[in-house]
Amino acid sequence: MINVKELTKRYARTTAVDHISFEVGKGQIVGFLGPNGAGKTTTMRMLTCFLPPSSGSATVAGFDVLEQPLEAKRRIGYLPETPPLYPEMEASEYLRFVGKLKGLSGEELDKRIDYVCDRCAIADVRKKLLGKLSKGYRQRVGLAQAIIHNPDVLILDEPTAGLDPKQINETRDLIKNLAGSHTIILSTHILPEVEQTCEQVIIINKGKLVATDSVRNLQARARGAESVILEIAGRNGTVEPTLVQQRLVKVSGVSNVSLKNQQDGRAIFEVESQKGQLVRGDLARAVVESGWDLNELRPASMSLEEVFLQLTGNETLAEKAAAKGAQP
């Protein structure tokens, strides 16, 4: 649906976007991730034909953004970082105006207005002036504006910025609901958002593409080897960590065992194994056969936050995040 090749945007002194290439399939939700100033907005603006690229090309729904901008624009719904609202217009009046700009008219337009008002839960503010709406409503009217012409591709620039937690959840649910019928790119610097809403992640930093993969693969990739978290308790209420450690290291395929935490007769270990070796069954057997209780055994997946910081090269922060993430 979206095909980006070597896209570059240079300004007089800086290169905001540096030879980025990626593809997005039909119906996918893709998270566009990066710290502030990474070039997310610039890339999105090039995709929406707002900014022309310095070099490289991008096609949206099969139309080149430079060669056939009108055709591409017809198939894109775009929500900029600040919703582009006219404060002196009523919500319904505004949606009518945008709908007409996008080429709708007559009965079809009326239907679409009703539909998006319902979908974005703004039916109760249809007759209100946009300038008087709260931030949450403004954002939703912005979203309604983006989907009014039922575009193939939705491009959302930080759709949850500045909303309160309840509104953030509502917006995320709305976006998830919109997937399927639309291909969605959303940018954010909030990592849990990507973990929760997106299937695919594109990480950029300082204008360069750092990684593009599915959320699950990225987490696995950053870890390298597989690792497992084990919580073990002794039957009599005490557990000797060193004994456990000695036993676990003997399990074939295990490369390292470290004690993470110990309290109230329970001990938590992180067991690293060589890549490709499945050791969980052996580990469980070893623990039970040695007469300990196995309270918990789970893969230690890295949070996206750690992956992100590692990939964008901020290692000390990545370690801190890892330490935080390991604590139960």
Partner: protein, 255 residues
Amino acid sequence: MRNAWVICRKELASYFVSPVAYILLIMFGLIFGFFFWNALGYFVNEGIEMQLRGSSFPMNLNEQIIRPLLQNVSVVGLFFIPMITMRLFAEEKRTGTIELLATSPVRDLEVIVGKWLAAVILYSCLLLFTAVNFAFLFKYGNPDWKPLLVGYLGLLLQAGALLAIGTFISTLTKNQIIAGAVTFGVCLLLWVLEWVSGYESSTWARVLAYLSVITHFESFGRGVVDSKDAIFYATVIFLGLFFTARSLESLRWRS
């Protein structure tokens, strides 16, 4: 051009939803009303004096009231035009709504023509106010309506030209005040350029006088459609809108 009409209607709505249009209408109405009352006062006074002196100098409503008043309107317009055009693009740039227009399947030209047309229509509303005053002349006198119509045509053409310049200037800044002030300066300059012809007759002076928007209104004010002057205004309109388009385009390459 359906899109241009959509944009135009939206612009008109925002003129008339906000107090802008009404304040301009009221101020223009007041100022013109004063001019009209004044011109009428002179006319009546002169008529009485003539009768007292017993001379029979022909009195003419067209020559003595309508023509000078139309000249006045063309000058007063210079002050109102910046207030009409200053927000056209500057405000869209400031609030970020320009991004909506630029990412909609609409040509730049349609946006520009739509906005300019809205400005022209608002200016026509101001002119309609003056027509109310002239209606009294037709009720109590017997002026020729053709020169008046030609005069209005000239005013519209002149305003169209200045509004196109104002539209262009509005694309250059995010700040409405700056857009308004610069447009006012340019309008005023285009008006006073003609003064050089008063004491100079070199080529330069003639070029400057030619550029003055006011000189081209004189023929219309007399009730004569001079194609030279009509073409001058049409050219300025075209150039103003052309530069607006260029400016919008460069905005994208730069920002």
